[in-house]
Amino acid sequence: MSMTSSPSIPLFEEVVNGFHKLSVSGGTQQESSDLRRTRQQAFDKFRELGFPSIRHEDWRYTNLARFLKDEFTIEGWEVSGKAVLPDAALLKKAEIASLDCYQVVLVNGVWDGKVTGGTLPGNIRLLKVAEARQDPALSLYFEKQAGWSEHFANLNGALFSDGLFIRVDAGATIEKPLHVVHVYTSENNLLVQPRNVWVIHRNAELSVIETLVSGGEAKIWVNGLTEILVHADARFHHTMLQTAGAGVRLVQQTTVHQQRQSLYNNFTITLPGADLVRNDLQTRLEEDHTETHLYGLYLAAGSQLVDNHTLVDHQKPHCLSNELYKGVLLEQSTGVFNGKVYVHQDAQKTNAFQQNNNLVISKKATIDSKPQLEIFADDVKCSHGSTVGQFSEEALFYLRARGIGEEAAKGLLINAFAFDVTEKIRIPEVEAHVNELISLHIPVNHA
C-alpha cells in the first residue's frame, strides 16, 4: 500500500542498509538460528509494509510525514554494550521524591548493569537484552513473534540490539517497586530500538515504574517494544511516565500476555514535551479468569501529537477488563484515542468496560476518539463511552465566586479531571509525583 512512498523516506533507506550491514558484520552471530530467522522475517515484513501512512486504518489520524522527514542514524551494533553515562540533571528529572525503590538506568536503551536503592532479592533477575538474547535458555522469548502486522514492531524485531530483561521467579513477591529510567540523549539524530522482555512467573508479583526523559538538541526516534508475560496467578503493576522532551518521537508497543487468573495493571501517563507519542498497548488474555486494568492520562501541549491505541483481546471466558483513558488537550495539540476490545466466540462471561473522556482546553486543539468493540460471544457484559468537553462554566464560576482566580480555577478543574486516573495509582509517592508533573504544565495556583 505504502510501498511507493516509503523508499523516499530517508530513514527507510537507512534501515535497509542497516540490516544488510548487520547481516554481513555478524552482530547476530551469537544468536540462535531461530532468532536470526525471526529477524529476517521481521525485516522482510517491514520492507513490505514500510512506514505507515494515513491510508492505514491504524494510522488514520496520526500523520507521520512531518516526523519522518529528518535523517536519523541507527543506534546499532557498533556502540551496543557501551553504556553512555547519563547526565546528572537528566537523572534528577526522573526522580520520584521519597519513593523507596530499586532503580536501573538505561541510556539510549543500554543498561550499565547497576542497580541502586538496595540489593535485589535473589528471586528477581535483571539482564541486559544483549546478553539474554544470546542465552539459549532465554532467546526463545525473543523468537516468539514473527510476522507481526505492525510496521514498527517488525522494524524493532529486525534491528533490536539491547534493552532490559526481567525475570521474577514463581511465588516471589518483590516488595519494593523497580524504577526503570530510560534516558535518551544524543548529539546526532538517532533511531533507538530498545527491546524489553519481562517475565513474571507463577504467583509472583512485581511493580515496575518506567520513566522516560531526554536531553540534547538532536531528534531521537525511539521505537520501543516491550513484551510482558504474566503467568498464572501472577500480578504485575506497570506504570509508564512519558516525560520526554522536545525532539523525541516515541513509538512504544507493549504487548502483554496474560495467563490464568493473572492480574495486569497499566498506567500510561503522557505529559507535554515529546513531539510525538504513539502507544500501542496490547493485552492478550490467553487464559480464563484474568483481570486487566488500563488507565491512561494524556496531557498534550504545543504542537504535540499523542496517540493511544489499545487492544484488549478477550480470548477465553470469565475475564475482566476495565479501561479508563482521560485526555487534556492544550494549545495546538492533537490527541488520538483508539480503544479496541475484541471478544472471541469462546470468551463467554466476559466483562469489558471502556471509557475515554477528553477535555479540550484550546480552540486549536483536536481529539479523535474511537472506541471499537468487536464481540463474537453472546453472554458478555461490555460497555464503552467517549466524551469530548470543555470546562464547565458553572464549576468555573463557583470557584471564582469564592475568590479563586480564573487560571487557578482552571488548574483545579484539570487536576480534578485527572483525579479519576491518578487516584487509582496505588503508590502514594508515584501519585504525588504525577500530580506534581501535571501541575508543571497547567495554569499554576499562585495562592
Partner: protein, 255 residues
C-alpha cells in the same frame, strides 16, 4: 456598605431587572421576597458577577468601589459571598483544599500571608463546630454525593470560613427539611455581627422565623415594589403575592 441604584440587567436580551434601588448597611439583614420569576435570583447573580447577565443601566457601589467593574473573584476577595441555590459538585477537588486555596487568595488580596497548616486546621475545626458541619464531609470531594441539605450547610460552612462582609443567601431554604433549616439558620445567626450584612433571598416566610430580618423587600417584575419591616413578611404569608401583582398592574395602568 452596599448601594444599588437604578439597576437594570438582562439575560439573553430579555430584561430581568428593571430599576432596583437598595441600600444595605453593616449590621443589617435584608430579606428579599417575591414570586417565582420576579428576578430575585437574577439580582443575586448580577451581584456575584455571573457572566451571562448584562447590566444595561444603573450602578452598584460596594464599600465605596464600583462592584460592576470587578470580575467574580475580585468581588469575592473584596468580601461578597454568594451562597448558591444549587451548589456545584466538583469531583476530584477536595473540599478542604478548595477552601484553603480560596482563603489564601482572599488573604493575599488583603495583604495577609496564608495561614499555616495548623492555624488553618484550627480555624476549620472551630467553624465546623459553629455551623454544625460534619467533619467527614470536609474531607470529601467538593459537594460530591452530598444531599441537598449537606450542600446548603457546606455553603454556610464556607461562609463561616471566608468571613465575607456581605453574604447573599440565594434560596438557601429551598429543599431543606425543618432540622436542616434550623441548623443553617443557627449558623447564620451566630455569624451575624455589626460588621457584616446579609441579603436573604427567599420565596417563603418560613426561613425568616429563624433568621429575623431588619428589612423586608418585595421584588416583582424586576422592581422592588414594597419595602417594610419583618411584619411585611407575615403579611405576605397571609395574603400571598396576588394582591401585589394587582397593585403593580394598577400602577402600570395609571402611568
Amino acid at each position: 456598605m452596599l448601594t444599588i441604584k437604578n439597576l437594570h440587567a438582562e439575560v439573553e436580551e430579555k430584561q430581568i431587572l428593571k430599576g432596583i434601588n437598595l441600600s444595605v448597611n453593616a449590621g443589617e439583614v435584608h430579606a428579599i421576597m417575591g414570586p417565582n420569576g420576579s428576578g430575585k435570583s437574577s439580582l443575586a447573580s448580577v451581584l456575584a458577577g455571573r457572566e451571562n447577565y448584562q447590566v444595561t443601566q444603573g450602578e452598584v457601589i460596594f464599600k465605596g468601589l464600583n462592584l460592576l467593574d470587578m470580575n467574580p473573584e475580585v468581588r469575592a476577595r473584596e468580601g461578597v459571598f454568594l451562597a448558591f441555590q444549587y451548589p456545584i459538585e466538583i469531583p476530584g477537588v477536595s473540599n478542604i483544599n478548595f477552601l484553603k486555596t480560596a482563603l489564601a487568595e482572599i488573604r493575599a488580596h488583603k495583604g495577609l500571608p496564608p495561614l499555616d497548616a495548623k492555624e488553618f486546621l484550627k480555624m476549620s475545626r472551630e467553624k465546623q463546630k459553629l455551623v454544625e458541619f460534619d467533619a467527614q464531609l470536609v474531607n470529601r470531594s467538593l459537594n460530591e454525593g452530598f444531599s441537598g441539605g449537606e450542600k446548603k450547610r457546606n455553603e454556610i460552612f464556607q461562609l463561616a470560613m471566608l468571613e465575607p462582609a456581605l453574604s447573599i443567601l440565594d434560596e438557601t431554604d429551598s429543599g431543606l427539611d425543618i432540622d436542616a433549616l434550623r441548623i443553617v439558620s443557627k449558623g447564620v445567626n451566630k455569624l451575624r455581627s455589626e460588621n457584616n450584612a446579609f441579603i436573604i433571598i427567599t420565596h417563603y416566610q418560613r426561613l425568616l422565623e429563624y433568621i429575623v430580618p431588619d428589612f423586608v423587600h418585595v421584588l416583582y417584575d424586576g422592581r422592588i415594589v414594597k419595602s417594610g419591616t419583618k411584619e411585611l413578611a407575615l403579611e405576605l404569608e397571609e395574603k400571598g403575592y396576588d394582591w401585589l401583582k394587582e397593585d403593580a398592574r394598577e400602577k402600570a395602568t395609571t402611568i
